[in-house]
Every structure is written in structure tokens, then in C-alpha cells.
Amino acid sequence: MNLTIFLLALFDGIAYAALVFIVALGLTLIFGVMRILNVAHGSLYAIGAYATVALTGFFLSLGLAPALSFPLMLVAAILVGILLGGPIEWLLLRRIYDKPEVLQLLVTFAVFMILEDVQRLVWGTQPYFEARALQALGNVTVFGVTYTVYQLILLPAVALVLLLGLRFFLRRTILGKLITATTEDREAAQSIGIDADKVFLLTFIVGAALGGLGGALASPTTSILPGMGADMIVLSFAVVATAGLGQIEGAALTALMIGLGRSFAVYVWPEVAVLVPYLIMVLVLLVRPEGLFGSPAARKI
């Protein structure tokens, strides 16, 4: 492995990790604040991708510039967050916060399965591909290998912006502080007048929108077909569990670790590449069951 190969593997790993992080971000945010593992997050990712393809296809067929795809991705993500995330939290999850975790998991899993079938009903089983946004940005050649600007530069940039933005939001804005307070201790927050219901609703919408944004950003790079949500939820869960549920910065680091691990495996030992994310998860959890950055939580009795 010489320097060139090393740097190439690094670039590929970062590009892959960026996308995985954006999706895992929503999942870990929801868990951190609401203590619910939202299995339906995978479907929100998939529906974000489908919605982007549908919107982009429609507007580009009217003859508008491909650069319009980027704002449309944000629109698709926000639509997913509000139209899907909102009702899921308000109608379903609100009623089961006090119930055992197993029940919560089953409910979100049921929502996941329903949404998978909804995707099939609405968009069918044929693969879709809408890559004009990616092609509009062009390519860049490094060490004789051509990368798309989209994957090498845009996705990591967006991931970084989201990470820093979310940190700033949670620590420096009033709303963020309300969310942090509710996360720390829900009863104490409610006793000083914070409306925990509204906080939870907002958090879920933001988390769902982030999942949809992940799908929207992924859509120009890959075929959109039923089942993509299932794959993504498994991988996101591996990232989130390894980092420690609720740890945002940790998720960034773990996504990077898993992304780099996978891309180095493809360069050095391709057969193992499929296993790498889960090997990392198993090794970390064996040593630190609460995740790399998680802290053992004290249970309130």
C-alpha cells in the first residue's frame, strides 16, 4: 500500500462516511432526546430519495436548470419531516413514551414495514435514477483517479455543516437549550415550564427531516428501489450503536471510522469489505457496551 493508494482509500472513505453520518445523525438525535430507537428512519431515508427524484424529475422536465435540484432536496427533506415525521410522533409515538422499550421498538418497526409497502404502492418496483444534479457539478481528477465533485467535496461539506450547525443549535440557541434540558431530565424540565410535548415533536420532525435529507442527497448517486431503506437502517444503527446512542459528535467519528474501514478493506481485502461496519460494531461493543462515547446511564427508579 503506497501513499497514492492510501490517499485514494482515504478520499473514498470520507465520501462514504459523509452520507452515512447524515442519515445516522437523525437517528441518534431522536434517540438522544426521546429515548426511542426509530426503525422507521430507514423508510424516511428512502422516501426522501423517492420524493427528490419525483420533484427533480418534474421540475427538470419543465426545462429548468439542474442546479434547482439542490434546493429541491431541502424541500423534499422538509416535506418528509413535516408530513411524515410530524404525524408519526403526534399520533403514534406520543402514546407510547411510558411503555416498555420493546413495545416502542415494535411500533416503529411496524411503521417501517407500512412505509416500505407505501413506497411500493406509490412508486412501484422499478429502479429510478436521477443524476442530473451530480452531473452538473462535474468531475475532479486526483492521482489519476476521477471522482465526482458531488461525492468528494459536496457531501463531506454538507456533513460538516450539519454537524457544526447542530452543535451550535443545541448549545447556543434557546430552542436548542430547551431540547438539551428536556434530554437531561424530562420531569425537571417540565416542572420549570418547558412544554416537553412540543420539544419532542420538534425533535422528531428535525430528526425525520435529517433522514429524508440523507436520502435526498444519496439519490443522485444510486438507483432508488424498494429495500434501500432497510439496508440504510441497519448500517445507521451500527454507526449509532458503536458511537453510543445519542452522541452526535461520536456518530461523526464512528461514521468516519466505518467509512474508512470499509474503503480500506475494498483496497486491501475486498472479501471482508461487506463485514467491516459490523465487525467494528461488535469489537467496540464487546469492550464498551455503551458505545465509544456513551456513558453508562443511571436508571431512575
Binding site: I5, D12, R120, P127, F129, N139, S223
Partner: protein, 429 residues
Amino acid sequence: MKTLFVTTALCATLPMTALAAEKPETLKIGMTTFLTGPASVFGVPAQEAAKIIVENINAEGGINGVPLEVSFIDEGAGAEALTSEYRRLVESEGVEVMFASISSGNCQTLAPLAEDLQVPNFMWDCGTQKIFEEQDYEYVFRTQANATPEMLAAVIYLLKTKPDFKTIAVVNQDYAWGRDSWNIFSTALKAMKPDVEVVGEFFPKFGAPDFSTEISRLQALRPDVILSTSWGGDLDTFVQQASQRGLTNSSTFVLPLAESSFERLGASLPAGHIVGARGDHYFLHPERREDADFKAFMEEYESRTGQVSVYPVFHTSQAFAALQAAYSKAIEENGVDWPSEEQLLAAMEGLEFQGLGRPVKIREDHQGVEDQMMGTTVQNGDYPFATMENIMIFDGDDITTPVGEESIEWVSGLDASFIDTVAVDSFEN
């Protein structure tokens, strides 16, 4: 005395029933296909084709006056559901002939079940060559080729069109088909071109949404040829991503299943790459496209589905053609109104039939012998997607593993002179 006489007379007529079966009201067929999941890109076109074919057959009076009725089982529901549905159709619904399946794994499960249930079973799409090589079956037949002639055709076309290439890499899906097809292809290639260098073997997981790292690696390795037997969304993603990053300019791709992705890939599949169709299946088939029945079917299929026909459609047509031919042959040879099961099975031996492609015949081990088409892509503007030129159709007899031999053993015993022994018809487009 009278009862004894009547009973004796009745018993004397019983042997007559062995000579002919009662003509049923409808001939029930069961077909397994993927209606959900990634392979539904094959399964749904096959289902549409089956519906059209059954309608056409019934419009002409059915088989000897008996109309057909086809019911579908979704392979996407999983092996357990599949076997219980299969059993239910045969035992409770009175299905006479089953068509199964798309997935090689399902074929391997259902072949012994068909023997057990004693129902004629046509393997209409699955590719594994192992079923008839490992065991003999009485009730199971295959109305198409298998992986061995399909991969051999790809190797021969490659060696004929690019004899001087040096390096090859493979990017296949990590499951039975991806592994087995590479096994056959590489064994054949190394036997016929011993100096070839395999510079990379990648098996990304089935359904992988991203091939970026593999593509970077391939750009660094710069192989002359890249093989991929992927299909569906995986192939679409791989070709799209490779095309975006210019890999399709620096290497020649060999894509034996690309015909089924032509329309979806549009302009992303550039000219100059080698493609196959798992048989002589192509909506612009050079020998058949002017035939009235071919044209009529293509138009009907396109107007119903909005898409051009792909190879599963052709495979479905072959299964139904085999069905019709078998019943006609059994009825004629035995001089009956409707054949018994033994007569039908006997008619299947050495049967010749023709679906939408060239004629196919069933040989003594029940394997179908189907000619194989390969071509090179061209973007000439006739369609908003790639079409084929420099088409070669290889004779199935020459490239199918001989009866009683095992594919890998037979293929590894070949050498470069084999290429000239294969009968081939060439067409410009």
C-alpha cells in the same frame, strides 16, 4: 349374476382410462415469479408477458379447446411461503403444470418438491447448471439454457472481438449467481487464454447502493476488461456511477445481463461495450423482428407496459411454447383428446418448440438447448437508449455442457481451438 356381469364390464373398461385422460374444463398453470423485491424487474415483465400469452392462446381456442388459467406465486415472499403455496396449488387447486422459478435457490428447493408431488415442472428462468448435473429428474424440465452456455458465449464473443486484451477485473454481486458465473467465466477464459491476468475480484453485497470505492480501485488498476454479471438496480447503479466517473471510457465492460437494463440506463451506457441477454432475447432480434407474430407481441407488450420486452419475457414465451408443443405432441402421438400425465412427460423428451426467439429443444437430461446472443452497444439515436450491433448468435448445441458431464470440469478442459468449433451467425444489428 347381473351385478357380477356389470362389475366385470366396468372393470374391463378401466384400463381405457390409462390411455387417455378426461379433458379438463381449464388447464391450470401455476407460475412462480418475483413480484416484490429487487428481482421484480424480471418478475413483473414476466407476469405481464404470461398474461398476454395466455389471452392469445385462449383467443385461439386454448390447447385443443381447453382454455388456460394461470395463477402467480410471489417468490419475493420467501422460500417457506413459496413451498407451501406451491404445494397448495398442486394439491388443492388442481394445477397441472408448474413454472418455477426465477431464483436458482428456489429452483433447487422446488425441483425435488415437484418430483415428490409428481407434477410436471418447467424451470423457466433460473440459471444454475447444477440441478441436472447433480441429479436426474422425471418431472422437472428446463425450457431455456443455463449459466454455462451463457457465460461461454460471453467469453467467446470477448475473445473474438478483443483477442489481444491482457487484464481483466470482475465486479459481481456477492451471492450464488455472482460467484458461480465468475467461476464458469474465469475457468473458461483461463482455459482458452492462459496468459490473461485477473487484476481484481470484487463482490460487493447484493443490493449495494454504492460502488464508488470499487470504481476508484478499478481506475487505479486500469484493467482492459471489466466483467459484471450483475442485474437490476445493482447493474444500473454500477454502470451509472462508472459512466459518471469516466471508467466506461478507459475499460471495456462485459455485461452479460445488460439487455434487461438498456431502457433504464438510457444514455448512460456508452457505445463499445459487450452485452448479453441470457439467450437470443432482444426486442430487435435480427432474425425475428420482421415476423408477424413477433411484431404483434412486441407491440402488445409495449402498449400494455410502456416498456420494451426484456429477456424474462422471452423466457416466459418459451415456457408456454413448450407447454403447447408438449400437449399437441402428446395428443397427436397417442391419438387421444387429452393426454395423461405419463403421455405428457413422454412428449417432453426431445421436444422442440419456439417462443419469441429461435427454436429450443429439450435433450435427454431435460436441459433445454438455447442459442445465445451477444452484441456490442451502440448509441445511434434510433432509441433513447443503447441498442446492439455486431451481433453474434452462438449455436446452443456447441456451448452447452455435454450430457453427463459437470460444467466446471468440461469447461476447464477446453482450449483456444474451441472457439472455432462453435457455430455462429453474425449480424450487423
